[in-house]
Symmetry: C2
Subunit: 388 residues, 2 copies
């Protein structure tokens, strides 16, 4: 258990934007909300999942909908608390902690705002280990936790509770309610025991987000290249080290809104080591697939992050512009995100890439990972590498 400072939240904003893999929403407005809540209500503690009692009640909190709308339709501040209270009434007991459902993007910050207002600790773990667009795309769902009863609350006092047939219907109904609430709302879902959280969450993702942000800030002082610092920041986590996939400049961006998603691709012309090469990154809110000179070199659920080549800050899908110099890095996703049941929910096929089998970054870049090492549970990927 450690106290989270407003400085931690700034570093988390930088790190979570990278973990957003192009989507997840800009963490900035969430950070401002969280910082203001902590200033007004006092500090928030971050607790390790192992500190949770098995019988504890964890109520994850998140924003649902379009983060871009938050800039114009500003949250009132107490909607997450109203959602927490309604959930507690449904369950007939008090929450012991909140947590993120999504450590990438704005939803890394929302639980800190909610926790300060509701006087709860935040558990260091989430249900995605990155950003994904839908509520069933969570390890909680994959490993059998019910998303309901869930609560959606708006800034004007509306509170909607949802019991659903399954987590897909939860997503469907909650999305409809969020749209009718004006495009975004606060959400409590996947109410669960401490035991279930420990069993199903992607652990340590908030402290890792803070570390990534610290690495970006610290690199300027230490003289390390910021991109290199980001790659090194996840070295000793359950993810393993990031790997540079490409460096270049944006030559084309195609982006359409289809069924509520930002769908399209970016084309990069290589620079430096990658001169004469090309990279295509396809996205649906988040970056899904990276194709270098016709060969797929990374795909969901591994993280594909586009960074500003100088500063190593995240370049989100909506901010991609012609002529930008960006570096694409890959971060291997934790093993809990790669089981067969997990890949059915968020592997390439789940996003419409029917003939694309997921290949772990550690396997595809086995030489790099043999050199730097991988977490113990990932060593199997090195031995299955096609290029020994």
């Amino acid at each position: 258990m450690r106290e989270i400072t407003t400085q931690d939240l700034e570093n988390l904003a930088v790190g979570a934007a990278i973990l957003g893999t192009g989507g997840g929403g800009d963490p900035f407005i969430g950070m401002v909300m969280a910082q203001q809540a902590i200033e007004e209500e006092g500090p928030v503690s971050l607790m390790d999942p192992d500190e949770l009692e098995d019988e504890a009640l964890v109520l994850p909190t998140a924003m649902m909908g379009a983060p871009t709308v938050m800039i114009e339709k500003i949250p009132e501040g107490m909607e997450a608390v109203r959602a927490l209270r309604a959930e507690e009434r449904m369950l007939g007991r008090k929450a012991d902690a909140t947590s993120p459902i999504e450590c990438g993007g704005v939803n890394s910050q929302i639980p800190f705002a909610a926790a300060a207002r509701a006087q709860l600790p935040v558990v260091d773990g989430d249900g995605m280990g990155r950003a994904f667009p839908e509520l069933q795309m969570e390890t909680f769902h994959v490993y059998g936790v019910s998303g309901t009863p869930a609560v959606v609350a708006d800034e004007r006092g509306a509170v909607v509770t949802i019991e659903a047939r399954d987590n897909y219907q939860l997503e469907w109904i909650a999305r409809g309610v969020t749209i009718r609430m004006g495009g975004h709302a606060m959400l409590v879902d996947y109410p669960m025991s401490g035991a279930d959280f420990k069993r199903t969450a992607v652990r340590g993702t908030i402290s890792m987000g803070i570390q990534i942000g610290e690495a970006v800030a610290g690199a300027r002082k230490s003289g390390m290249h910021p991109v290199e610092a980001v790659c090194a920041a996840t070295q000793d986590t359950i993810y393993g080290r990031g790997v540079v996939l490409f460096e270049g400049k944006v030559t084309d961006v195609e982006r359409r809104t289809r069924e509520g998603f930002a769908v399209g691709h970016a084309l990069l012309q290589g620079l430096g080591d990658y001169e004469k090469s090309h990279l295509e990154v396809r996205f649906q809110n988040e970056n899904l697939v990276a194709i270098r000179d016709g060969e797929t070199i990374a795909s969901v659920p591994d993280l594909i992050c586009l960074l500003d080549s100088e500063r190593a800050t995240a370049v989100t899908t909506e901010r991609l512009r012609y002529g930008q110099r960006v570096t694409a890095i890959g971060i291997p996703t934790p093993e809990i995100m790669r089981s067969a049941e997990a890949l059915r929910v968020w592997g390439p096929e789940a996003f419409g890439y029917e003939n694309l089998n997921f290949m772990p970054l550690e396997q595809r870049f086995a030489g790099y990972y043999r050199r730097y090492g991988v977490p113990k549970e990932k060593e199997k990927h090195l031995s299955t590498s096609p290029k020994a």
Copy 2:
């Protein structure tokens, strides 16, 4: 308090279709649900509002959405009970009775199905005294009852509870949830005390619906013309007698779906007493305005009903066809539906007729109503008649 028979429900279906004023949904599938529920669970009592204790809890039940969808997506039977139980949990107490919110169309029947399954009586009164398309179009709303907490339940186990800023937001969110549930769902809203029901409901509307159905069936035996029988059936109620507006055949129907409503008009060429005359009936789900030879002769909230000229059964908006012989009748709406605050919600202006002031049928057809008499509280309209 009297027991409702399956025969009563058949008469109610005929009467409620007429009170649907062209909309409200065909009562038939609701009747089958209610009859089956009564056969399986035992009889249901209809109670007069005056039999309600002031402190009693009334939980109105209804179908929300498109009645046409019910034919293909058949209710499972227990969704209204799940909605009632969820509402009881929210309020922390048991219901003493249910009621309709809408006596016109399919929602005249739904409370009987719910009441049989939940072992509750049905109160004889509703919130519209006819059919209207939206949840805030209720006397309950007009006279200050909150529509929330409300519950929407589908046939596959989903239960959504809604607390809203006001009854307009309730309509907006509940409509969105219903759409996501596949187009229709069961609804509990306007939970209220017996005292509030007695103060705000349109009373006696279910027994009046049954009477109208009996009149249609009985006319065949008594030799009275069925249309005349329908007009006479409301004579001794708070509505007063129906008046024939026009008789003719359908020469044109224009019907579009706009923002979820069936919007359009029907043109009738006169027959008999109305030869050489024309009637235009404009509708938005329900019939809104009747214009004879260029003069508006009836408008919401008075009831404009198109009847089969031979059998006096209702001809709904979606069943209007070229060449049909129909008789248009008007039924004066009760005074509780005509206050200034009520007309703001459902007068002609609320439906976009900006320069049309509502004129009561009793005033416009003062000669007819002087001849037949009107309920005491409506006598003022005779004296304000432009044609003494």
